[in-house]
């Protein structure tokens, strides 16, 4: 059947309208993407969050573990003290994150951070907490659980600026690129991933009273957490896998960062033979286990669990001296 002129005109107009509409929609989508990218880029060049700088460079060596490693071990000191042993042109990065329990996700992250690196230095901070997972989860579910955390969401671990990190993990509104919402004035996030906690800033001081209060809260938190979590065999297996991998990539040191004795006691009550077990594992892999958990009186935490800046520096120096001695001994034994 032939179309009438009127029908032709209608179809022509409709097609024009549709084209115009689709063009406008496309323009809106492009404008949206443009504006989004602009603010992501703006944010990526400033402070993002305490973990951002852990994912902005390739690493020659790593400090691994949970929040105690994150705040308690300074890569600057490690680099300066162990410079002659490292022989790396890539930096040591603190990859300690409070959600970095041993698992396949953490292991993959480690692999990507040190892809091109050999003869590196790896300090692994361990405590029973590194091996915990919610009781209700089985092995596969723990993996899925880890995949939903920061390291599981991102695909780029080594670029600066790291847009991928912001797009996939940044949970705050992007107006933070003008005024950051996540900046605690007692925390200094260094470009090598170390988060230094300073007790005294220009504007205020974390007093002993506050430290005691936070310590009480920490103990309450750990006690409550222990009710719903357990030491997961999956995490232990992944820990072994991590050690196997890292021992092929350089020198590995296991350490237990000091914290208040009350907190250590809670941890040990959930894994009574922890230090003995770590010693055994260390022997199997022929690596040292440096346990400082009983030297709590020599260091100060700001919440019972995590070292404040000066103690973190002091601890890192002590740790590096011990590592240095071991490395010298090893060198001599090779000779």
């Amino acid at each position: 059947m032939l179309l009438t002129d009127k029908t032709h005109l209608y179809i022509f107009n409709f097609k024009m309208d549709l084209k115009k509409f689709l063009l406008k929609l496309t323009l809106l989508a492009v404008a949206f993407c443009g504006v989004y990218y602009f603010f992501v880029d703006k944010l990526s060049k400033g402070y993002v969050d305490p973990y951002y700088y852990k994912f902005t460079q390739e690493a020659g060596g790593l400090i691994l573990g949970l929040s105690r490693a994150n705040e308690g071990i300074s890569p600057y000191i490690v680099e300066s003290k162990l410079d002659s042993f490292i022989r790396q042109n890539r930096p040591i990065v603190n990859l300690g994150i409070n959600e970095a329990h041993f698992g396949d996700v953490y292991l993959e992250t480690i692999k990507k951070k040190i892809k091109k690196s050999d003869n590196g230095l790896f300090i692994i901070s361990v405590s029973p907490a590194n091996f915990t997972a919610p009781k209700r989860l089985d092995e596969n579910q723990i993996f899925d659980f880890d995949k939903k955390l920061k390291m599981g969401k991102i695909t780029n671990f080594t670029s600066y600026p790291n847009h991928n990190y912001i797009i996939n993990t940044y949970g705050l509104p992007l107006y933070s690129s003008f005024h950051n919402l996540d900046q605690w004035n007692h925390r200094v996030s260094h470009k090598n991933g170390w988060n230094e906690i300073i007790l005294k800033t220009k504007s205020d001081t974390i007093t002993d009273n506050l430290i005691n209060y936070w310590k009480t809260e920490s103990i309450k938190f750990y006690t409550k957490k222990a009710e719903s979590e357990h030491i997961a065999p999956y995490r232990y297996d992944c820990f072994i896998k991590t050690l196997k991998y890292l021992t092929t990539k350089g020198h590995v040191f296991l350490t237990r960062v000091p914290s208040d004795l009350d907190v250590v006691e809670i941890e040990n009550s959930h894994w009574q033979t922890f230090d003995k077990d770590m010693d055994s594992i260390a022997k199997v892999f022929n690596i040292p286990y440096l346990n400082y958990s009983k030297q709590s009186n020599e260091y100060k935490t700001y919440d019972g669990s995590h070292l404040e800046s000066e103690s973190a520096k002091k601890f890192t120096r002590v740790l590096c001296d011990d590592i240095k001695n071991i490395l010298i001994q090893n060198k001599n034994s090779y000779l």
Binding site: D17, L28, Y170, P173, L174, Y175
Partner: protein, 482 residues
């Protein structure tokens, strides 16, 4: 797949382009594939349950009209048994076994806990996303056929699409076959005006979700995660915010669902009608989650006798209705208490109406004052009941309420970020004002039929608001868990 995810931003345009490019006779297949893909992206294994429900109800639906009276009932019972059986097994079994263990333990009989029953635990059963929604939707189909209200759908594909239509599959609105199936079969031509309206509804839904509900949620989570750490006003504000969060979150989902369906020429029913402007608890429940309340009214409340019998019978029926509402939301005592509290207040409202009228008359209060008082009372009542809804356990809920009345100062903010707190309040007031004037269903009127320069300014403002103020956490919608 979440509506507020990057995957959906890719998935949806592909489905729409495919839908309009394909001839009408293949569209059902395209949408069915799209819907199953949408569900598979959530849960790979549990899609089988959706398929079982579909097959059973299709088969029973076909058999009922031509069967004898006794067989009609049998087919209906098969449909009810299979659907509610799946729902019970996946959603309520763990709760009932735990509760039974509790009852036996009370009488000194020790029954092994579920985790000790071999290597399998009921606690490990995953609740399929949206199971309560699609079970109720598909159940209404066989019941309506049994009642002679509708004829069975002979095309299996169209029926499967009715059960799984992706915009409303996982969180409603719960549609009836008599409304949705004819729309799914109808030939749809491209209608730019409808597409625009649909897109605006979706954009509004995204705004409600990522800018408001998820923002309020941060404050709410901080309060509910450990109520012992806070007290007084911050907990009151958090409870108030939770009422807002659940409303904005659910109405966001509904807006996106309605918008997405509209783009494909399907009109879904409205699930909300400005609930916070209700002046009675009864009217609140007529404006909140309308599709669920209508379903329960038609298939539970009225068959029980509704409000036609004695006062006592009405009271009993209201109580059963609201306990069912509570149970529908989740297998936990918190939901049952939430439902029961609503029933108690509704019954009190029903019983004391004449008395209240006399009191208001003697106090010479005008209607506006009465309405204002009713709203204040309503919101606070809702707030208390929702504490049970949000808490992980009844003990947590009581602890929250206890701490909420432990007022020792004027500290209002848990997060110590007053800008964000103020922003939450501004957004709530703004959206409530918009809903007051435009309702939940005519939001697109804010944009359409305005001069070009205003429309373009609004689009630009929208882009900047979403980019700068959205909370980028890809949080699931609260009602996905039901």
């Amino acid at each position: 797949m979440l509506f507020n995810s990057f995957e959906f931003l890719l998935f949806f345009p592909i489905v729409i382009f495919g839908f309009y490019l394909l001839p009408h006779k293949y569209r059902w297949l395209w949408l069915l594939l799209g819907s199953y893909y949408f569900y598979l992206a959530h849960e790979l294994e549990l899609v089988i349950l959706l398929f079982i429900s579909t097959c059973v109800d299709y088969f029973c639906g076909l058999k009922i009209p031509s069967a004898s009276k006794a067989h009609k009932k049998l087919y209906l019972l098969i449909s009810i048994f299979v659907n509610l059986g799946i729902l019970f097994a996946f959603k309520y079994l763990s709760f009932f076994t735990t509760s039974l263990q509790g009852v036996f333990a009370f009488f000194g009989v020790d029954i092994p806990k579920s985790e000790n029953l071999g290597s399998y635990s009921f606690d490990q059963i995953l609740i399929p996303v949206g199971i309560s929604f699609y079970t109720f939707q598909t159940l209404s189909y066989t019941i309506d056929i049994y009642r002679g209200k509708i004829k069975p759908e002979k095309h299996f594909g169209v029926f499967a699409l009715y059960v799984s239509f992706f915009p409303q599959l996982v969180a409603g609105p719960i549609e009836r076959a008599s409304r949705l199936i004819p729309q799914l079969k109808k030939k749809v031509n491209i209608n730019i005006s409808n597409i625009k309206k649909g897109l605006i509804m979706m954009a509004w839904g995204f705004f409600l979700k990522v800018v408001i509900a998820d923002r309020i949620g941060i404050y709410v989570d901080a309060a509910f995660i450990d109520p012992e750490r806070n007290h007084g006003l911050p907990l009151y504000i958090a409870a108030l915010f939770f009422a807002g969060q659940i409303y904005y979150d659910f109405s966001a989902y509904t807006s996106i669902a309605i918008g997405a369906a509209k783009i494909m020429g399907v009109d879904l029913i409205q699930n909300f009608d400005r609930p916070f402007f209700a002046t009675t608890v009864a009217s609140f429940w007529k404006r909140w989650h309308i599709s669920l309340m209508d379903w329960l009214k038609d298939y539970l409340f009225i068959p029980l006798g509704g409000s036609k019998g004695s006062k006592l019978k009405t009271v009993r029926n209201v109580f059963i209705l609201f306990v069912a509402v509570g149970l529908w939301h989740g297998a936990n005592w918190t939901f049952i208490i939430w439902g029961a509290l609503n029933a108690v207040i509704l019954i009190l409202e029903f019983v004391t109406t004449p008395l209240r009228r006399r009191v208001f008359k003697s106090l010479r209060l005008n209607q506006q004052t009465i309405n204002l008082l009713a709203r204040i009372f309503g919101v606070n009542f809702l707030l208390i009941t929702l504490i049970f809804f949000r808490s992980a356990s009844t003990a947590d809920a009581f602890s929250y309420i206890k701490q909420m009345f432990n007022i020792t100062g004027l500290h209002v903010n848990i997060l110590n970020n007053y800008f964000e707190l103020a922003l939450c309040l501004i957004l709530i007031i703004t959206v409530q004002t918009i809903h007051y004037f435009k309702g939940n269903d005519k939001i697109y009127e804010l944009v359409t039929n305005r001069p070009k320069y205003i429309r373009y300014s609004m689009y630009t403002a929208y882009i900047f608001i979403i980019v700068l103020f959205a909370i980028n956490r890809q949080n699931t919608f609260i009602y996905f868990q039901f």
